[in-house]
């Protein structure tokens, strides 16, 4: 772990005098895993699913009843645990850990069922082509019902009959580009609908998302130039446009610093002398790793400069595939 890197400490110092960007709130904001909803976001391919699951395992290990919600039917959790696809069901994965994959069509159906207690009305609706069409075509409605379901799962008093109560809901959010739009849906609907149940629903969701005591966001980044730029932009729009609390930024997949400067010089010396292929290959691999680790440290320092939320690092895992064991290992370092 490189959490104590001097670059980070330096940036922290510089930031200390800056005013807080988020609105003032009453009482202390709890730590990330003590909240009720944690949204894990970031650009595509940065390891959001892995971080979401590691956070889930960490919370579960502390005895918090935790559920990980997937929203793009990627079924990452079931693959990691070598289970059948979880689908739109709350399935137990480990002690204190459940998973659900939220399909917007199922979420829509459930929403209607909860709204309409009269069977005839429901049947009419589900049989209607207009409803099917409207549900599929209305911009943003799928995102809205998806967030609605996440909120329902997080409620202490579940609307679904015999719904299990969770202490913590972790969302593996869609890749950014769509990510901010996804979280913005409730406000958009609250603005469009001036009255009526959708208005009420959208407002409840909006209030929940921007409540810094209940909801937090963790952004996942990679130690490369462009992901760092995008993370900074994402934090800004989450904070300024959505108003959600960004509690943490994870720099994921950071290479270890295996060799000192002096060691690198010695390896350089032997990498040059030609005939012994093995020595050359091994020392060149070390030089290569050292260059990558250096360049990653530069990106880490840049990230520390450009983000406001506390920054943590997660190590690169040198394994062909990341399974339960590797995520378990990350979960012990993640909080």
């Amino acid at each position: 772990m490189a959490g104590s890197d001097s670059a980070i400490a330096g940036a922290r110092k510089r930031r200390r005098g800056m005013p807080l960007r988020w609105p003032s709130y009453v009482g202390a904001v709890p730590e990330l895993l003590d909240k009720r909803l944690v949204i894990v976001t970031g650009k595509g391919g940065v390891g959001k699913s892995t971080v979401a699951l590691a956070l889930g395992l960490a919370a579960a290990a502390r005895g918090r009843r935790t559920i990980v919600c997937e929203v793009s039917s990627q079924e990452h959790v079931s693959r990691v645990f070598h289970r059948a696809e979880v689908g739109f069901h709350e399935v137990k994965m480990a002690d204190n850990l459940w998973a659900i994959s939220i399909d917007p069509d199922e979420a829509m159906r459930e929403y209607v069922l909860l709204q309409l207690r009269v069977r005839a009305a429901r049947d009419l609706l589900f049989r209607s082509r207009i409803f099917t069409y409207l549900a599929a075509a209305t911009p943003g409605l799928r995102e809205l019902v998806t967030i609605g379901k996440i909120w329902e799962v997080a409620l202490p008093d579940r609307k679904v009959r015999k719904g299990r109560k969770y202490d913590l809901v972790i969302v593996d959010a869609p890749a950014t580009g769509h990510g901010v739009g996804f979280l913005q849906t409730p406000r958009t609907f609250a603005n469009i609908a001036r009255v009526g149940p959708i208005k009420a629903q959208a407002e409840a969701l909006e209030t929940f998302i921007v409540n810094h005591r209940k909801t937090g966001v963790a952004i996942v980044a990679l130690p490369e130039e462009m992901p760092v730029n995008e993370t900074a932009a994402l934090e800004r729009s989450l904070t300024d446009e959505i108003g959600v609390a960004v509690d943490r930024v994870y720099m994921n997949a950071l290479y270890p610093e295996r060799f000192t400067r002096a060691e690198i010089e010695r390896l350089e010396a032997v990498a040059g002398n030609g005939d012994r292929g093995g020595v050359r290959a091994v020392s060149r691999a070390a030089l290569s790793e050292s260059r990558r680790a250096d360049s990653q440290r530069q990106q880490l320092a840049r990230l520390a400069e450009v983000v406001d939320a506390p920054l943590r690092t997660l190590p690169f895992i040198f394994k062909p595939e990341i399974g339960v064991e590797e995520i378990g290992q990350l979960s012990r370092e993640i909080d």
């Binding site: 650009k43 911009p139 009255v195 130039e225 390896l267 290959a281 091994v282 070390a286």
Partner: protein, 381 residues
């Protein structure tokens, strides 16, 4: 084994597709820069809201029109560009607005759509709209015939299939026959719903709220007059994608999941009879040049370094890489077998991050390397 230049020979459109986070934007930019260096007048179109391409080409902003990349940047990268490189960042919302202006039957309809709150707030977020608008802009620029080659970087969706699916989804949305039946342009909003002809709407009203329906009703009504124009346009865009002058390049990473997705996407391309050009695997951990590797290497290294601890750690590091390299080669082999293609281009995981033209030109040593040269390049990476 072909390089990008061979794959794109005789092509005028190159579409880089793949799931998020595999380096599509960088690859698209590198291909465009490479073709420009080889004498083509090339434009690269990206829709990425994070302005990644702008960063990589040293452009402060791209806007919804093409900008020429300063030839000086090529010179700084040590390349003499024989062609031209242009780049643009596509604004999906602006493109959608242009489409509405073009297809609206009259000014009143146009203004009603552009002023509709649902259109304003959600047109950019509409399912498939980013993808479709990328194709739309591609079509427009292609029709103007100003470039030898257009390179399209597809939107950053999790799933590459979203791109292919976009025209169908957008048409489904715009046509909306079922809704039109109930919303004959006799009156808007309350009148339509209040007539009591439809129990359906009273139910819908209970779960949504009246005003949402009003706005939606108006939105769909306004759009209904443009269906013909949109449908015709979508058809021509689809024809362009299937055109023999077009070419799909599938971009992926070497890990298990991206490879599986790439194989699936390739199958869909073939099924849809779209022209597949090849696959680019980014960030491959290169196989070591050592065919014989054993415990003697550590002893040799101890001898050379005179430091047992350092030698052991260097070997440990090497073994970590070997494991990743072995995985990557397994996945590339699977990819090659399942796609039954010879056009698999591997780009090694470079020591340094690619974020400028110099970096793009370094990538091109691999993207444009044909045959055994590519192998050598990777082996000495």
């Amino acid at each position: 084994m072909a390089g990008v230049a061979e794959i794109l020979d005789g092509k005028r459109i190159c579409i880089c597709a793949g799931s998020g986070g595999v380096g599509k934007t960088t690859t698209s930019a590198a291909i465009a820069a490479g073709m420009a260096a080889r004498g083509k007048k090339t434009a690269v179109l990206t829709i990425d809201p994070a302005k990644r391409l702008a960063d990589s080409l040293g452009l402060p902003e791209l806007g919804n029109e093409e900008r020429k990349v300063d030839p000086k940047l090529f010179a700084e990268a040590g390349v003499e560009p024989r062609g031209e490189l242009w780049a643009m960042m596509l604004d999906a919302k602006a493109t959608f607005d242009e489409l509405v202006r073009r297809h609206a039957p009259d000014e009143e309809t146009r203004d009603r759509i552009l002023a509709n709150r649902i259109y304003q707030q959600l047109s950019a977020a509409l399912a498939g709209s980013q993808e479709y608008m990328a194709m739309e802009k591609l079509f427009e620029i292609y029709a103007e015939d100003r470039y030898d080659l257009l390179v399209l970087d597809t939107p950053p969706s999790r799933n590459a299939l979203d791109f292919l699916d976009a025209p169908r989804r957008l048409m489904q949305f715009i046509e909306g026959r079922a809704l039109q039946v109930f919303m004959r342009p006799t009156g808007i909003g309350m009148k339509v719903f209040g007539r009591g002809t439809s129990m359906m709407f009273s139910v819908l009203r209970r779960i949504t709220g009246v005003e949402v329906l009003e706005d939606l009703s108006e939105f769909f009504q306004a759009f209904s007059g443009m269906v013909g124009g949109f449908r015709e346009r979508a058809k021509r865009v689809n024809e362009l994608l299937a055109n023999p002058e077009s070419c799909f390049l599938v971009v992926c990473g070497p890990q298990g999941e991206p490879v599986t997705e790439a194989v699936y996407f390739h199958r869909k391309l073939v099924e849809a009879k779209l022209p597949f050009g090849g696959v680019i695997v980014n960030k491959v951990h290169y196989e070591s040049e050592l065919s014989e590797y054993g415990p003697q290497v550590e002893d040799e290294l101890i001898g050379a370094l005179d430091d047992e601890d350092l030698a052991r750690r260097a070997v440990e590091n090497y073994e970590d890489y070997r494991a990743l390299a072995a995985r990557d080669q397994r996945n590339v082999k699977r990819l090659t077998a399942e796609m039954r293609t010879r056009s698999v281009i591997q780009v090694p995981y470079l020591d340094e991050d690619v974020h400028d033209l110099t970096g793009l030109m370094r990538l091109n040593e691999y993207l444009f390397a044909a045959g055994p040269k590519e192998r050598t390049a990777i082996a000495t990476g």
